[in-house]
């Protein structure tokens, strides 16, 4: 049986079978919405921005050359929309560069947290990260994007992505450790 991947659906949509575009919406809506939600901090605005990202992708699908993955291209559109919205609404974009981190090595220590609660716990810690670090962690760990692909999405150099990922991961461990110390996990 033929395996249908993103390229197959792109081709169908470009040939006029517009209904196939819903495949992309269903597949990527959660990650696009999560990025928008993190930046805009408001459900209604985030839904609107996520919707605009998909519409923009549909309108410019003919310019998609397939050199990058469809998801990389879509996240680039989402990222640009976020930046424009932040500028328009004058929202303070909390960048990783604004936050001090110690030089102490951090390690993740989830001992004592029941396995079934760990994902919830990590999600709570992830939400405490600044927007840019949240996005890097989400793209790298959740969506398996490579450093190169994250560079394409954010227009950062690969070495910059690596440095920011390192800092983001370190900060995530620090937040997790703080949460553990405060025993916040018990109320999750």
């Amino acid at each position: 049986m033929e395996q249908k991947n993103d390229s197959w659906y792109v081709e169908r949509v470009l040939k006029g079978d517009t209904q196939y575009f819903s495949y992309f919406v269903e597949k990527y809506k959660d990650i696009v919405f999560s990025i928008a939600m993190k930046v805009l901090r408001n459900r209604e605005d985030a839904e609107e921005m996520a919707q605009e990202s998909f519409i923009k992708a549909f309108k410019s699908l003919h310019t998609f050359k397939g050199e990058a993955k469809f998801s990389t291209w879509l996240y680039r559109i989402t990222y640009n929309n976020c930046i424009s919205e932040v500028r328009k609404k004058k929202i303070k974009f909390v960048s990783a560069d604004d936050v001090q981190i110690s030089d102490e090595p951090e390690e993740m220590n989830l001992d004592g947290i029941p396995a079934e609660n760990r994902a919830k716990y990590v999600k709570a810690a992830l939400e405490k990260l600044p927007e840019d670090e949240y996005m890097l962690i989400l793209l790298y760990y959740f969506d398996d994007k490579s450093v190169e692909e994250i560079g394409e999405i954010t227009k950062m150099t690969e070495s910059n992505v690596k440095v920011k990922l390192f800092r983001a991961r370190k900060k995530l461990y620090a937040i997790l450790n703080d949460m553990l110390k405060e025993e916040i996990y018990t109320i999750l």
Binding site: V25, K59, V122, F142
Partner: protein, 55 residues
């Protein structure tokens, strides 16, 4: 713990996260807009400018 093991553990945990979803009607809302855009795009493509067809 070695960095690679720690990284794999983190990846496993993050992959287990349930991301926030938009509302239930999100896909149908997007698709309605998509169909509207398609009609608008076709209208522009089929429009004759100075009797020249750009289709």
């Amino acid at each position: 713990m070695k960095t690679q093991d720690l990284d794999n553990e983190l990846k496993g945990l993050i992959k287990g996260i349930k991301l926030d979803s938009p509302g239930n009607d999100f896909t149908s809302k997007v698709m309605s807009r998509v169909y509207e855009e398609k009609v608008a795009m076709e209208k522009v493509t089929n429009e004759k400018i100075l009797e020249k067809d750009f289709g």
